[in-house]
């Protein structure tokens, strides 16, 4: 059986989405996609944090298997890139990408920025994603593709996500790594941290 696209950034009605977890999971299964919720309601869920200053980032919220951080200011972004294993959705500069590489962070390519947008808003989204792609390539930062879905109509199949990434400028191997390898690695690492199997950074009890 082949690998499945893992969508790490999905919201249900528990975290501001429209549809229930069951409806999202059933729809995603029909598309051949595995979803991981950012509800923070279950132990295996990730958490999405949108914050504008470093003071808003509370230590208690950092216990999830994985974190999706959306910093809204330069100060918040400077703080976010220092958090180990975070997945960051923000316009990056080379200095940020270097810090992300050192801290094992990943950069998120949130396709809802494209799908829900039009006109100048979409132009800005494309420009940001292409700039982030250049930074991630230069500093070998892992890339994660996600739909940021808040309803079943926001979910997309692997085939569609692959071609959206390709038109954004991803190579074939980069697109597949962003859809399969990187999300799988983040989930496995997060599970090991939650289960207390991480002895120290980079050392996991199997």
């Amino acid at each position: 059986m082949g690998r499945r696209f893992i969508d790490l950034h999905v919201h249900s009605d528990r975290s501001g989405g429209v549809d229930s977890r069951e409806a999202m999971e059933a729809f995603a299964a029909g598309l051949g996609v595995r979803v991981s919720f950012c509800d923070g309601a279950e132990p295996e869920d990730g958490v999405e944090l949108v914050f504008s200053s470093k003071g808003e980032l509370r230590a208690g919220s950092l216990k999830a298997p994985y974190l999706i951080l959306r910093p809204l200011s330069a100060e918040a972004l400077a703080r976010a890139v220092k958090i180990k294993r975070a997945v960051i959705d923000a316009p990056l500069k080379p200095g940020h990408a270097r810090s992300m590489h050192e801290n094992g962070c990943a950069v998120e390519f949130n396709l809802s920025r494209l799908i829900g947008a039009s006109g100048i808003e979409r132009v800005r989204a494309i420009r940001m994603m292409r700039s982030n792609l250049v930074c991630a390539r230069k500093y070998a930062v892992p890339m994660v593709a996600a739909t940021g879905a808040c309803s079943v109509y926001d979910l997309r199949s692997a085939h569609q996500v692959y071609w959206l990434l390709k038109v954004l400028g991803f190579s074939d191997s980069e697109a597949k790594e962003a859809m399969y390898g990187a999300p799988q690695g983040i989930l496995e690492q997060g599970r090991a941290v939650v289960e207390g199997r991480v002895v120290e950074e980079g050392v996991v009890v199997l």
Partner: protein
Amino acid sequence: MRMKRRYIAFRIHSAGAVAKKDFVHALLDEMLAMFGERLTAEVGLWVLDFDERRRRGFLTCSHRYVGEVIAAISLIHRLSGARASVEVLGVSGTIRSLKRKFLKEDGEIAPSQTPGE
């Protein structure tokens, strides 16, 4: 020289009814917005079949621009005024194999294609 064509099967998910002309307009709008008039003119896009009851059908385009067409289909998020998405069921080189693989007459729909590893 004759253009090599590809056929793309799709299925629409929407809360409301969807007419063929609304789908065609939405697809052309996304093609124009994302890729511009020059490329949209080169794509040779035609919606050949659309079953409004089953909400599925297939279209054809130049083999060079299959990726662009799938990306444009993926960007559709509203149809006939309601929230919607369009799922690409698969791509084939002939209508016969497209129907055999992805649009079975008994209503059964094959799982979506995924990019190879």
